[in-house]
Symmetry: C2
């Protein structure tokens, strides 16, 4: 079989004619598929319904340490929830964990916002600085980038490698530029590539010597227990301990949540950090709220009991997600294998498959999919400011549609990839 690049103009034109036919046919099907967000399907949520039965009837609403979870108090969360979140996030010490409300994104937003208005642990508030920069491993999570953009923080692209962000570049920026105040990381099963940071990468993070004392690593360990396979799982090092060992205990904020463990809208979320960081955050948070929802914290702690409970639960999620991922990967391979018009990584966990098209094709592919009834994450969304310099990255989110829909979607996707690629090659 010839790759597309090896085809003559005539061959490409013939190929295009055939693809146009197939595309017209696909458009005729009146599809309505959405693969734009990493949203659990209803079956995953059904599995967590027991959560809502946990605090049923006249049950004891007292936490281990005697707190009435229904009342005000315990700003940092009840200890059993702090333990559970520490385990999930791979953090050794539950006293370093602050449990918040139902989403980790707002914890990250608040962390950045607090730094803007009040500064980090006594340092100058960022709103008084001329320039604040964040490093952004790319492709990455659009909602991270939206937060930093919202606060006028300049974002610097850092290419991802198979073992994590390009650490030579990270080290250079962090050690030389005092306006670099943070880096967004999804260290395990990264969004969208599914890459897990190697031990060396984590250790190099912990060994960073920032020019800015208020530099923090924003370590969003969103997919810490979100494995697709029982026997082939990634496990990253505990960055909090590594930073402590390296003599930089304050350099990292770790984030996590149960949004994709229990319920997407009704989970609990947490942040882990050094004692000094937590004290500073607690002081500020005490102005913002009296406490977070401890009833939901208790519900989660009693339902999952411990990390083993979480792991068992996550196997059920994997059973639902695995066939969807495998369906997409199988069809990508069947339809695009050997054509050299795209590449992808087979993830072992997380919520996404990242697709690299030929340069300059991503927007066209997403648009063609849209016109045939399938919504993908906007092309460019995986880059700061929505600008993918090569216009080549597309994030595929297989969780929400059924496996059957996913198969249909993947076939349509590969068709659009082929068509956009042929058109691109014909332009040249």
């Amino acid at each position: 079989m010839k790759t597309y690049k090896e085809m003559s103009r005539e061959e490409l034109l013939a190929c295009k004619a055939e693809l146009d036919e197939q595309y017209k046919e696909a458009q005729g099907k009146g599809l309505n598929l959405n693969m734009s967000r990493g949203k659990p399907e209803a079956g995953q949520l059904d599995m967590g319904m027991g959560l809502l039965d946990t605090l049923h009837g006249i049950c004891d609403m007292t936490s281990e340490d005697g707190t009435d979870c229904r009342n005000y108090g315990e700003l940092t969360g009840i200890m059993e929830a702090r333990k559970l979140m520490a385990d999930i996030m791979g953090v050794g010490d539950p006293s370093r964990v602050f449990v918040f409300g139902n989403g980790s994104l707002s914890i990250m937003y608040d962390a950045v916002c607090r730094s803007v208005t009040h500064g980090v642990m006594g340092h100058t508030p960022w709103c008084r600085l001329d320039k604040v920069k964040f490093l952004c491993p790319v492709p990455g999570y659009d909602r991270h980038f939206a937060i930093t953009e919202h606060f006028g923080i300049e974002m610097v692209n850092i290419p991802m490698t198979p073992t994590g962000p390009d650490m030579d570049l990270v080290e250079k920026y962090v050690s030389e530029d005092a306006s670099v105040k943070g880096i967004w990381c999804v260290p395990q099963y990264s969004n969208p590539q599914g890459i897990s940071y190697s031990d060396e990468t984590v250790r190099r993070f912990a060994a960073l010597r920032p020019a800015a004392e208020d530099f923090r690593i924003y370590w969003d360990n969103a997919y810490a227990v979100h494995h697709l396979y029982d026997d082939d799982q990634d496990k990253i090092l505990d960055i909090l301990s590594e930073c402590e060992k390296a003599g930089h205990p304050d350099m990292v904020y770790v984030f996590g949540s149960t949004s994709k463990i229990s319920m997407a809208g009704a989970g609990i979320a947490a942040m882990a950090a050094s004692k000094a960081n937590l004290e500073c955050i607690e002081k500020s948070m005490a102005i913002r709220t009296i406490c977070y929802d401890k009833v939901n914290q208790l519900r989660h702690a009693r339902y999952f009991k411990d990390l083993d409970g979480v792991k068992e639960h996550m196997k059920k999620h994997a059973a639902i997600l695995r066939p969807k991922f495998e369906t997409v990967l199988k069809i990508l391979e069947e339809e695009l294998g050997g054509l050299e018009i795209g590449s992808w990584i087979k993830p072992k966990g997380g919520y996404f498959i990242s697709f690299e098209s030929l340069e300059g094709c991503a927007k066209s592919i997403v648009s063609k999919c849209k016109q045939a009834g399938m919504t993908l994450t906007n092309a460019g969304a995986t880059y700061p400011y929505g600008k993918d310099p090569k216009d080549s990255n597309i994030r595929i989110a297989p969780s929400f549609p059924t496996t059957e829909e996913m198969a249909e979607a993947a076939r349509l996707f590969t068709l659009c990839v082929k068509l956009a690629s042929v058109e691109k090659l014909l332009e040249q």
Copy 2:
């Protein structure tokens, strides 16, 4: 009976000797009472336990408009929760209500914070202004003042009257000073005095002509359905409609929550505002979070059903709170009536009794109570910066202790009032 002020020095000294004896005796009791915060007692929380049974078993988790409440989505809240909160907050139109997480304080914090970092509806962010001021009706709610202090906003005391804040002063400041960007209000059963704003006061608020276009009334309707009596209830006008009628639809943010209706730590909270305000807030909130906890929203909507359900529930709260309030008021009258060393207002709802001592006595009273085992809200807490210029206001929170404890506490309190007053008069 002579008032304290009518007593001769000898009479005061004799009185003091007797009070010293009583105080020593009280100290010997080893009391441990806390009346510092407006915290529900366990019995009130027990009454809401049915809430946790509402979503039991394999129940339908779909909202009226077809949203799966367990999943991501519906940033502004599900419609049944918006309706419920509109009813509770006395706001006519549920489409003007945005339902958030478990506390209204954080909504207010975020509203101020957003104004600081991004400005109000396109106006200059407050962080770029030399001076921002808030009007603070006093005595008032310490956590309101803490938010504005946190952001370096200058607070201006506005005296309360029996019908609400001194509106002559409010009108003068708001219309003449463009640096005045807000005013904190608890319009019904105010914290701590239990005063409800008269219709005229509400209409004068709605008719304000602010010098600053980004001036907003921060209308914390925290005790909207928190009546102590069935037959003698206050009802304030709907400020949102009044502002609309007066041609200033954007001038007010209304806040409310079920914290003291369902569960103090696990309720739902909401904000009501004009369409233009809500659009601006939603845009910003979409960066901060994907959605709030809709499962808890659904739980509340299904448990309370409607305003009648809430009213029935609040009667049970009143049955618990009323005897505590009446006990305190009875003892205040018995012990202090006619002595002219203090005054108080009999509230018809809310969570507090406000006590006015002789000038310069509040700190001394609170300290004496503390040394006898009873914690009150810090003297001064009801004023911005913790500075009560007359050192005379003390907030009493009768909800948490039992009625028996409350009786003991009230007796100790009146003893300390007498002692501090005698000491003060002897100084002169």
